[in-house]
């Protein structure tokens, strides 16, 4: 199998060292961190976009503060962006930052808490605070600087504010463009593309604004050219394909429309809301609309109503909202109503960490509705899949006549990545509502004995009249109380999953099909696991991975795959007891979520490396965890 991450041993071809001070790199991680409202995110997006245009692999992810308007210079208030650049494709946000531009020293602490830096991280810090009129600020700055150096970061003070003030009166509104210029110089690029971007973004606001941004850009660029004694270069590879760039929530929203879904019913909840924001602005372009319901229950009820009436709808939510939808979800299973439910997972349980990533809702998706409620569960692994899985999800929902859950997460939701522009075709689109007469010899639940599938009548279809119900019912949708009917109809609904599994390709092993260690993952960790495994393989380790996109039904062949490895473990962003913990002393430790399912299903003795850092797992951390397992296997 082909890996996502290709890290060549040597410098890329044709880029032999031309100037001694340019360091050529396969990839680099840059962060811009500021107070809220200083525009770090715009700067980062611009830098990311223009890198992508040049042909770099790019992954950007926003750093969002917990409050709406956190006070200036607060430790919890960091607002910013991380941009990872690559010579080839970039599949995740990477490990610790290589370069950081900090607008003040305090905001960096929340990044430090998140483990975003390492000894050696190069920090460019605005030096304005060194001469702040307030003594406490001067002191705080000095203390932090010493602390940073103590931690091994390489700190370089730069006069962002001072330089900006040469061009604008309010530096808070200008620093971000200055930094773009600075980064362009740092990464050995010229200003042609950034200027185009500025013209595109600010053109509407008038020539003066554009002019002033040019000046800031040039100032940052010039300062860096003059004052930096080294530069980096992450050489791009010219693009052949047309690419689009967006975040996972935008991709989900675009996917909904590409699937021809005309109704999205939702209730706002972080980090799912931005998907609906996008739909709210655009859905009328495909003749659809977004319904903001009074609550999550009404949202799924509304979507179910639309689906029943012939327009398969989508509802988008996150954990707490999902909890409220489980009763209706059970109805959709029981009465076989096509429906797409997107869960953008965040940190739990309860309100938890609303803006942070977790993969904590897999088991809730499987089992939340009381009684036996078989449903299809998919998890996209990339931004691109966020788009395409929506098309798949609607089709599955209609073919298998029931709800399909798509598990995304906050990592995908806010991650930005370019991918080939999809070639949308009419076959992706939901057909118009069928209003042709219903063949009255076909019952409303005419379950196929092999697959459990059946066609459904849509209101308006003459002769199809039936009464949908959540009570146990027979083929005619008549309420049925007998034992035999109950057993038979439960089996009919359940076997739809078996039927789907028979159509799936066996799970794919990336790396060798046998070896010492196999990692199993799902969802947004794909990029990181791939990178970690590839690094270890390059060291000669016999490690491979399997990444699952179908969680219910599971992709076939897992047991056979697992048996060919000495050790199998899942890597997940959720909580599992650490069975090594000597204080646990319990013979029923609580497993990470996929591990739980795979143990039950395959009876293989899977363990896990699962963590809940409130952020994506870094490839380096995974590498380290896998390495420990490998060592243990050898030792």
């Amino acid at each position: 199998m082909e890996a996502l991450w290709t890290e060549a041993e040597e410098t890329p071809a044709g880029t032999e060292a031309d100037a001694p001070h340019v360091q050529r790199l396969m990839q680099h991680v840059v962060e811009i961190v500021s107070d809220s409202g200083e525009g770090a995110q715009t700067a980062g997006q611009m830098f990311g976009t223009l890198s992508a245009k040049m042909g770099n692999g790019v992954w950007t992810v926003e750093i969002i503060p917990a409050e709406i308007e956190p006070p200036a210079r607060s430790r919890a208030g960091a607002s910013g962006i991380r941009i990872r650049l690559g010579h080839g494709d970039v599949s995740n946000a990477g490990d610790t930052a290589d370069v950081v531009v900090g607008f003040n020293e305090q905001v960096l602490y929340s990044r430090i808490d998140q483990g975003a830096f390492r000894p050696g991280t190069l920090i460019f810090l605005d030096n304005k605070w060194a001469s702040d009129p307030q003594a406490e600020i001067q002191e705080a700055y000095a203390t932090a600087l010493a602390d940073f150096r103590q931690r091994g970061y390489v700190v370089r003070e730069i006069p962002i504010d001072a330089e900006c003030l040469k061009h604008v009166s309010d530096a808070r509104k200008g620093k971000n463009m200055w930094v773009v210029g600075f980064l362009c110089a740092l990464y050995s690029r010229d200003l042609e593309l950034p200027k185009k971007e500025i013209a595109r973004r600010f053109g509407k606001k008038g020539a003066k604004i554009v002019e002033s941004n040019y000046r800031l850009l040039e100032s940052g660029f010039g300062w860096a050219q003059t004052n930096l004694d080294y530069h980096f270069d992450v050489p791009p590879q010219p693009e052949t394909h047309e690419k689009v760039v967006m975040n996972g929530n935008q991709a989900i929203a675009m996917g909904c429309m590409a699937a021809g879904m005309e109704v999205c019913a939702m209730y706002p909840i972080t980090p799912a809301t931005s998907a609906s924001h996008f739909l709210a602005g655009t859905m009328q372009e495909i003749g659809g609309f977004l319904h903001q319901a009074e609550d999550e229950i009404a949202a799924i009820g509304f979507a179910i109503g639309a689906s029943y009436a012939g327009k398969t709808a989508v509802t988008i939510t996150s954990g707490p909202g999902f909890a409220l939808k489980t009763e209706f979800l059970g109805l959709a299973v029981m009465a076989e109503i096509p429906l797409v439910v997107v869960v953008v997972q965040r940190g739990g349980p309860s309100t938890g960490l609303p803006t942070k990533v977790e993969q904590g809702d897999l088991l809730a998706s499987m089992f939340a509705s009381p009684g036996d409620a078989p449903k299809i569960i998919l998890a996209p692994a990339t931004i691109e899949e966020c788009f395409h899985f929506m098309v798949t999800a609607r089709k599955l929902a209609e073919t298998f006549r029931g709800p399909v859950i798509v598990l995304s997460d906050a990592n995908l939701a806010t991650g930005v990545q370019p991918f080939p522009k999809p070639e949308v075709t009419e076959s992706w689109m939901a057909p118009p509502i069928d209003q042709s007469p219903w063949d009255t010899t076909t019952k409303p639940y005419d379950w196929d004995p092999q697959t459990g599938l059946s066609a459904r009548p849509i209101p308006g279809q003459r002769g199809g009249n039936y009464v949908l119900t959540g009570l146990a019912h027979d083929e005619d949708s008549k309420v049925a109380y007998e034992s035999a009917t109950n057993q038979r109809t439960m089996a009919a609904r359940s076997r739809k999953l078996a039927a789907l599994q028979r159509t799936l390709k066996p799970a794919r092993v990336v790396g060798d099909p046998e070896g010492d260690l196999l990692a199993v993952t799902w969802g947004s960790t794909l990029g990181a696991i791939d990178e970690a495994v590839m690094r270890l393989r390059r060291e000669g380790e016999k490690v491979s991975y399997v990444h699952l996109r179908f969680l219910s039904p599971l992709e076939p062949g897992l047991k056979e795959i697992f048996q060919r490895f000495r050790k199998v473990m899942t890597v997940e962003i959720n909580y599992g007891d650490d069975p090594q913990d000597p204080t646990l002393r319990c013979d029923a430790p609580r497993f990470a979520q996929l591990a739980w399912m795979l143990r039950a299903q395959t009876l293989c003795d899977l363990t896990s490396w699962s963590r809940v850092p409130g952020g994506p797992l870094q490839p380096g951390q995974i590498e380290e965890a896998l390495r420990q397992q490998l060592t243990a296997l050898k030792g």
């Binding site: 659809g288 979507a303 639309a306 109805l331 075709t425 689109m429 042709s436 009464v467 119900t469």
Partner: protein, 317 residues
């Protein structure tokens, strides 16, 4: 209309619908239950209006009254307790072409369904909402509902309900954008029919509270009203629910009330001394969410593909 098969169809012969075209499974309500009366009123209305059964959808929650769809031979949606209205709104959002009735109970609508009641009334999407108010939880066998009278002995308040009943008319009249609020009784078929008919022709959400006899559990509540018609206040107006002589002969206690006057409707609803029947409030020009939600219906697949491609272009690197 859509789809393939229509092209092969023979010339459509004119259809005429009879009562039995609306008669589904045999109604399993208790003998004497007021639900039977409402069922026949709705079936008669469908017949009189010649609604194609396949173009008619009855939506309900859970409760005795919510079994309603099973007894109609139309499309039906017997969903979850308290959740009829979100489903009905979802259906209506993209189906301006179907006729829609909603059956809900005092528990279904005024207890667990309260949030949807308030918001669906505000959305004002076209549908007839019939609140079967028997002052009790019937299906689950005799528990207090929000409309149960103070002191009534139910299984959850065997020593008497603690609070005075919630008045569904007052609440509905308090909801911004409410556009049609009426009350009727199941045991006067003429007034019942006339009220539902008026609701059916209303361009928006018609909220009709039906005082519904439950001889099984709340006979003591409804028998007195039925026996003594002077407890009922018949609201009359040229733009109200038309009441013929038969109705007027029974209900001597009458009041002229202009249904466009919301404040006086609120005063009438709050009267504790009688049961007003008729139209309390109507506003034919209230904002309608279904007019917004149905925009863009009928866009073709090719048009959608083009639109999606245009949007994707905005994301081009």
């Amino acid at each position: 209309m859509f789809g393939l098969k229509d092209d092969w169809a023979e010339e459509e012969r004119p259809r005429h619908f009879f009562l039995e075209d609306y008669e589904g499974a045999i109604a399993r309500w208790c003998p004497g239950c007021g639900d039977h009366a409402v069922l026949s009123a709705v079936q008669r209305l469908c017949r009189d209006e010649q609604l194609p059964p396949e173009k008619t959808v009855v939506v309900s929650g859970i409760g005795c009254s919510s079994r309603f769809p099973h007894y109609m031979k139309t499309y039906g949606f017997h969903g979850l307790h308290g959740r009829a209205l979100p489903v009905a709104c979802g259906i209506r959002s993209r189906r301006p072409d179907v006729h829609m009735f909603v059956a809900t109970g005092d528990g279904d609508n005024c207890s667990i369904g309260t949030a949807h009641w308030v918001h669906a009334v505000r959305y004002n999407m076209r549908m007839v909402v019939m609140l079967f108010d028997n002052n009790i939880y019937g299906l689950t066998k005799n528990q207090t509902s929000p409309t149960t009278h103070r002191g009534f002995n139910s299984m959850t308040h065997p020593h008497g309900a603690w609070l005075s009943p919630l008045n569904p008319l007052s609440v509905t009249l308090g909801i911004t954008n409410a556009s049609f609020v009426a009350q009727t009784v199941d045991w006067n078929p003429i007034h019942l029919y006339a009220t539902i008919r008026e609701g059916f022709h209303h361009p928006g959400l018609a909220f009709i509270r039906i005082l519904q006899r439950c001889p099984h559990f709340t006979a003591s509540v409804f028998e007195p009203i039925q026996r003594d018609p002077s407890l009922v206040l018949l609201l009359e107006h040229g733009d109200g629910i038309p009441a013929n002589d038969t109705v007027r002969r029974i209900y001597k206690n009458r009041q002229e009330h202009d249904p466009s006057d919301r404040n006086s409707a609120q005063a009438i609803a709050d009267r504790g001394d009688c049961f007003p029947i008729g139209l309390l409030y109507r506003n034919r020009n209230a904002e309608r969410y279904d007019e917004i939600s149905a925009r863009g219906l009928g866009m073709t697949g090719a048009q959608k593909v083009a639109a999606v491609n245009r949007m994707l272009d905005r994301f081009l690197v």
